[in-house]
Symmetry: C2
Subunit: 341 residues, 2 copies
């Protein structure tokens, strides 16, 4: 490795004083634009690394923001990250990313690593089996803001950025009822995750408001992946009378159900109407296209990051302390898979 | 913000010497396991941040690895990142991620930020319009390894991790020819990106080896997104005689073509056989399922990160200096969309 390039090397190279070089690199107004540019070009040419590292140590700021997500596979989480990165980058922050792999233990270890890396703030979407959020207490004690998104635990000390999953589940179910469905299956994910339990609540409320009795046997637990459709459809085929509607808590699983319904000779939406969740690409490219709830991942990422950075810059005016939940708009997008009228 | 917790606070709290605390936190063998655990628990409880930051300044290592990708949307890039993060996390490194948004200027700015953040190494997949890689010279000068993946520029100074895109394009095209196709359209992405030009080469070679003349009019440039299918199919419908095969350089665009072929009353694969690229979820859930090339994003991420970390730890045995290209296996997966025999 070569020796570290200092401002003295640049000064020597250009025949200028170290003071001028230092000022130019800090964009001091006393340095003429032409000189400033000459010095910046020389710095780049020589491979000078501005000593953010040492100055960070003084300021106790790293300009790094940590993000912990369950998994990066899947279009929803990657849209969220894309939205976060865009906002962070524009504001001069870097993103440090880790995956909990849906494990509480790994999430704890990741939090500890982020803490020791001295991130300026942390954004978290919780793992399946995280029972409490005590592992984020060290951040709170230190005054490092932690903000949850998508998968949150209700807690007065923290802010969460979410969509209204109850309302979304309600809209999806009410739409199926409007289309004449009377026996509606709901396929949900892990019952420890707020987004799935909230959508289930919405499903129940919509049934109740339309005087359709709730039947526990019509709620299927699933890992909601592309393989689950076959099992779900086989279970549907055993029911008598057969359901006439199905509301699935994500689009790839809804597409998988759609495929297996068709393979079993059922017509969608005539025999059974299908509604998914997320508005992933797949919902638009299968046939018939799937009615779904638009789940704005990119916007969730942007909003979460903007709030965190505003808070970091806010000084006395720290908005997050008084904000418990930020709820984004979501909407029902009606397509062919559910149009029975 | 609370005052910084030091080893002296932990020592006072537990009635131990600062030396014992320091040793325990560095897992020194002279400290008994029981005491070590007691000290670690107290450190966590009190909110002690191990001073990696200051010790990093001494060692000049940050344990951060930078990753620059064109965009995080899309399942291929997020699988790559997931694979990288897993390997990095297990080895005690953090990932710092930024997006070039397919812009050369933004890529240059991102490289400069990564350089100033003193990443220990850098992994890059290039933007559409990056004409050269001079902006990574400061890293090379400093002895910071830079490794390219997926979208690379051939260059003796750097290592690239890729799949054999020529061979994959060849396999896809040869398969269509085996299935009896005689007039095959190829839909490619941006012609400045190696992965697309290589697949085009493979398409040409397969035609040549089977004595089918190459026709420039059958190569369509596209941005390969879910909206492109309609335009591509409209163009296909104007051709006379109609093509009997189509090889599309990604799966979401292939699925979009499939949909619009069906909407125009064409039968797949009877009238026209379809082959995609990537093995995305969507290729498995549309009807008929799409024949595709398996593009192992997760494995590319793992291999790239493992090589980088091995290099960082290698000392004298720095493997990357002699490795120009690491090529991963890719394979043709035959499904219903192309089976005409």
């Amino acid at each position: 490795m070569e020796k570290e390039i200092t401002i003295y090397d640049i000064a020597k190279d250009l025949g200028l004083s170290p003071t001028t070089v230092s000022r130019a690199l800090n964009n001091h107004p006393a340095v003429k634009e032409k000189t400033r540019k000459r010095i910046h070009d020389a710095a780049l040419e020589l491979g000078y690394q501005s000593n953010v590292f040492a100055s960070n140590l003084r300021s106790k700021k790293t300009n790094n923001i940590g993000v912990i997500v369950p998994r990066l596979n899947g279009s929803f989480q990657s849209s969220v990250i894309a939205g976060m990165e865009k906002v962070a980058n524009e504001a001069g922050f870097n993103l440090i990313i880790s995956q909990s792999q849906e494990s509480y233990d790994k999430e704890k270890a990741n939090a500890q690593t982020m803490f020791n890396s001295r991130v300026d703030g942390l954004l978290v979407s919780l793992a399946f089996n995280t029972p409490n959020i005590d592992h984020f207490n060290p951040f709170i004690k230190k005054g490092i803001p932690v903000l949850f998104f998508d998968r949150i635990i209700e807690n007065d000390q923290y802010t969460g950025v979410v969509i209204d999953n109850i309302q979304s589940g309600y809209k999806a179910t009410a739409h199926l009822i409007e289309q004449g469905c009377k026996k509606i299956v709901h396929v949900m994910g892990h019952s420890d995750i707020n987004v799935y339990t909230d959508r289930l609540k919405g499903y129940k409320y919509a049934l109740m408001d339309n005087e359709i009795p709730f039947d526990e046997n019509l709620v299927f637990r699933s890992n909601l992946n592309e393989e689950s459709g076959e099992e779900i459809v086989n279970k549907i085929l055993t029911l008598d009378p057969k359901p006439d509607g199905i509301f699935v808590s994500n689009d790839s699983c809804a597409a998988s159900c759609l495929l297996h319904l068709k393979l079993n000779g059922l017509k969608v939406p005539r025999d059974i109407a299908v509604v998914g969740f997320n508005n992933d690409v797949i919902s638009r490219l299968v046939e018939p296209a799937i009615t779904t709830i638009n789940y704005p991942g990119y916007e969730i990422g942007e909003v979460a990051m903007k709030n965190l950075i505003n808070h970091l810059r806010g000084g006395a005016d720290r908005v997050l302390e008084n904000t418990n939940k930020i709820t984004l708009r979501s909407e029902l997008i009606v397509r062919e898979s559910s149009k029975r009228k």
